[in-house]
């Protein structure tokens, strides 16, 4: 398993004292193509090395936008709901479900006292105990298998992959067992597991840490896949995934964890199979998900200024596709542009193109255009990395071409 270099605090090697670094990117810079820089905090604490004796990290995730604790009491005259960052929304959803159902448990590397590499499980081990928020040794195939075994016996585990790319090591368990055992056992054993983790291209994390696993997993029968993109849908999808009796893979994005949003105080659960209408329009249907949603919305600003009216849909449900929402949109606009982060070959866009062509061919006035990353491993160099992703300018010119 690749050693993690950036983006995640490293645990100390035994018998050497080292500082922990926490790198976080600025969420607010996502909508603009600014140069990114890291906020580095060294906490100066030493580890003794053994799991049980690890001191709890006093890391603070900071960025230019001040972090507010979730459930801040509503000030007089403020809007309803509460503001938080996406990773806190995930944690809130997780915590609410763990409160609601004692069978819900979490397992993964560094999820316990460390609080998770992206702090999604921060504070949970203190609240629910070491057994319910379980730190596992480094063996993805095995702790995923463990989660499957626990799920078959009545627990509802949430397995965290530190980075989606590492779940390639768990592919055997996910494909041969997670997706399959409900079927091959004749329905006798169900697997209500949630497998989640950050994926997608980050800031110069290198090829192995920039994987888009939804391409590889989409073919496995028996699993459901959803991708969150806002704090609101992150919490709602997390809750829905936990409550679902199917195995669900929840794709988060490394660069979206620090997105700030105001979400409702009341409890809400979203539908796993539904797409989200981000911006209704008339001229063209733009289908996207996860981080590309923000590139699309940025392009949409330019397009609106140039007189176009794009309809933007965040498909959210990667398997199965919400062909109902998508179909209604296609029937209205007759033009489809898919913007994704997957590689061109065999990605979600490729499957979506096929599905739309098959089902809505008569409603299309132009061939479907799919903007994806090239079929190359993600390079480390910042400029190269930037150009392997679909940029708003490309989206704008694609729409202009499509609407000629």
């Amino acid at each position: 398993m690749a050693a993690i270099v950036q983006g995640i605090g490293s645990t100390a090697a035994p018998c050497a004292s080292s500082n922990k670094f926490l790198l976080s990117s600025l969420g607010s810079s996502l909508l603009e193509k600014k140069r990114n820089f890291f906020v580095v905090r060294s906490d100066g604490k030493c580890y003794t090395g053994l799991n049980q004796q690890q001191r709890r990290a006093q890391n603070v995730v900071t960025n230019a936008v001040a972090t507010k604790e979730e459930k801040a009491s509503a000030a007089v005259g403020s809007k309803p709901g509460h503001e938080l960052l996406l990773f806190e929304a995930l944690r809130e959803g997780l915590e609410e479900e763990m409160d609601r159902d004692p069978c819900v448990c979490v397992m993964g590397e560094d999820v316990g006292h460390y609080g998770g590499s992206y702090k999604v499980t921060k504070g949970l081990a203190e609240k629910y105990g070491d057994l319910r928020v379980l730190d596992t040794p480094i063996a993805e195939n095995s702790f995923t298998g463990m989660g499957i075994g626990a799920a078959m016996t009545g627990l509802r585990p949430i397995v965290e992959g530190m980075n989606m790319g590492f779940l390639l090591l768990a592919f055997n368990q996910i494909s041969n067992n997670c997706g399959m055992l409900h079927y091959t056992s004749g329905g006798q054993f169900k697997i209500p597991i949630v497998i989640r983790g950050p994926g997608g291209v980050g800031r110069q994390l290198g090829a192995e840490h920039s994987q888009r696993l939804e391409s590889y997993f989409q073919s496995i029968p028996g699993i459901q896949m959803v991708a969150c993109s806002t704090a609101y849908n992150a919490k709602g999808l997390m809750k829905a995934a936990i409550r679902s009796d199917n195995p669900v893979i929840l794709f988060e994005h490394v660069l979206l964890y620090n997105l700030k949003e105001r979400i409702p105080d009341e409890e809400y659960v979203l539908n796993l199979e539904e797409a989200e209408m981000v911006r209704p329009g008339e001229h063209v249907t733009i289908l996207t998900y996860s981080r590309m949603r923000y590139h699309v919305m940025q392009a949409a600003k330019t397009l609106v200024n140039n007189g176009y009216d794009p309809e933007v849909i965040d498909i959210r449900s990667l398997k199965p596709f919400d062909l109902y929402t998508i179909g209604n949109s296609v029937k209205k606009t007759h033009r489809v542009l898919i913007v994704e982060e997957c590689m061109r070959t065999g990605g979600i866009g490729a499957s979506l193109t096929a599905a739309i062509n098959e089902n809505f061919h008569d409603h299309l006035d132009a061939p479907i255009v799919c903007l994806s990353s090239q079929d190359v491993p993600t390079p480390y160099a910042g400029t190269l990395e930037e150009w392997t992703l679909v940029q708003p300018a490309q989206i704008v010119s694609a729409v202009e071409q499509l609407c000629l």
Binding site: N51, C105, L131, R132, L134, T136, P137, A139, N141, S142, F143, T144, G145, M146, G147, I148, G149, A150, A151, M152, T153, G154, L155, P157, N172, Q173, N176, N177, M180, L181, H182, Y183, T184, S185, G186, G187, Q188, F189, K190, P221, G222, Q224, S244, D245, N246, E273, P320, F321, L323, Y324, A355
Partner: protein, 380 residues
């Protein structure tokens, strides 16, 4: 500077109760089994033998597509099952149908799964011998090797959370111990301190790979210590030794909440499966020797008969009885309806998503359009 040697020089001794002739070894300490358990164990071993012979032949006749025998490992199958409680969860590899047999799976249920008919609990979705039964706490067999091991650690974790008075028992062969999942499962189980018993059926062969080419360690038992797991080596062809060791292992696992590793030495008398001809890679006299002189069933029989609990008449009557029952079960299973086409789409998810609904509808239409191409005996 001292390098620890790659081998300790001495092999780990093997726990045995009965000698080759079925007599208790002088000085051996073991828990006595009573007549009821002993006769039930023995008759289970005979049933397994007959089941293997007849169902193997059934495959050879082309009536089922595949079969895998447990010949030579009947003692491990039945004696370990007898030492467990019905609440203990079993995660098999594939050569442990005797455990299901002990728990009450009927010959008819076995036959139904092999024929993949409508009454199969797996609804016709898995190959023969991939049995699974939730009510018997026996997880459905999955073909890839050792995938059940980390799952067993997970089940044990679940039992530990619920503080149940039960443990998990999972089986693997000598070949399975080379898989990465073996390493990680044992490591996890030790770190998490969960009640799981790992039983390795070291039968000398992984299809055509002998143990000399599988590992360089002193078998499997020495690896336990590497993970911090208490382990024991046991004569897998000695039913009483297996029974005793699993009993003790179970108590330890539950009371002390720790994993245990049991290496049961045995021999795979049959071919790996119906897709294999083991005479291609091993000597016929080797197979013969283990089939006759080292047969676990006859060895246990000698002890049971020595106690006056079984006679030769009982033997012939029992064998012909089981044979008849099994032949009837097979006839019934072969005649029974196959699962309907609708079963192709159920249980993929809890409820069918739109794409599956569409695919099912499309298949139904195709069948309606071309009824002559669709087998008449398969229901829709």
């Amino acid at each position: 500077m001292n390098f620890t040697s790659e081998s300790s020089g001495k092999r780990i001794p093997c726990f045995r109760v009965l000698d080759d002739n079925g007599y208790p070894i002088a000085g051996s300490i073991f828990e006595q089994v009573n007549k009821e358990v002993a006769v039930r164990m023995y008759s289970g071993m005979v049933t397994l033998q007959i089941m293997d012979t007849i169902l193997y032949e059934t495959q050879r006749q082309g009536r089922i597509s595949f079969y895998l025998t447990s010949t030579g490992e009947e003692a491990i199958n039945l004696a370990s099952a007898a030492a467990l409680s019905p609440d203990d969860v079993v995660l098999p590899q594939y050569r442990e149908p005797g455990v299901l047999l002990w728990r009450g799976f009927t010959l008819q249920e076995f036959a139904n799964q092999c024929f993949g008919n409508k009454a199969d609990y797996g609804k016709g979705r898995q190959m023969p011998i991939h049995y699974g039964s939730q009510k018997h706490n026996y997880f459905t067999v999955s073909s890839p090797i050792a995938t059940q091991l980390p799952q067993a650690a997970g089940v044990a974790y679940s039992l530990k959370m619920d503080k149940k008075d039960a443990c998990v028992v999972t089986y693997m062969g000598d070949g399975g111990t080379s898989e990465g999942d073996f390493h990680a499962a044992l490591n996890f189980a030790a770190v998490m301190e969960v009640p799981v018993i790992f039983i390795c059926r070291n039968n000398g062969w992984a299809i055509s790979t002998p143990i000399t080419e599988q590992f360089r360690s002193d078998g499997v038992v020495v690896r336990g210590q590497a993970y911090g797991i208490r382990s024991i080596r046991v004569d897998g062809n000695d039913a009483l030794a297996v029974y005793n060791s699993v009993r003790t292992a179970r108590q330890t696992a539950i009371n002390e909440q720790r994993p245990i590793l049991i290496e049961a030495l045995t021999y795979r008398v049959g071919h790996h499966s119906t897709s294999d001809d083991s005479t291609k890679y091993r000597a016929v006299d080797e197979i013969e020797h283990w089939k006759t002189a080292q047969n676990p069933v006859s060895r246990f029989r000698k002890w049971v008969q020595g106690n006056g609990w079984w006679t030769d008449e009982d033997e012939s009557e029992f064998r012909s009885n089981i044979r008849k029952q099994l032949m009837e079960a097979i006839q019934l299973a072969a005649r029974k309806e196959k699962p309907p086409i609708a079963n192709l789409f159920t249980d993929v998810y809890e409820e069918n998503p739109p794409n599956l609904v569409e695919q099912e509808r499309s298949l139904g239409e195709t069948i309606k359009k071309h009824p002559q191409d669709y087998p008449s005996d398969v229901p829709l």
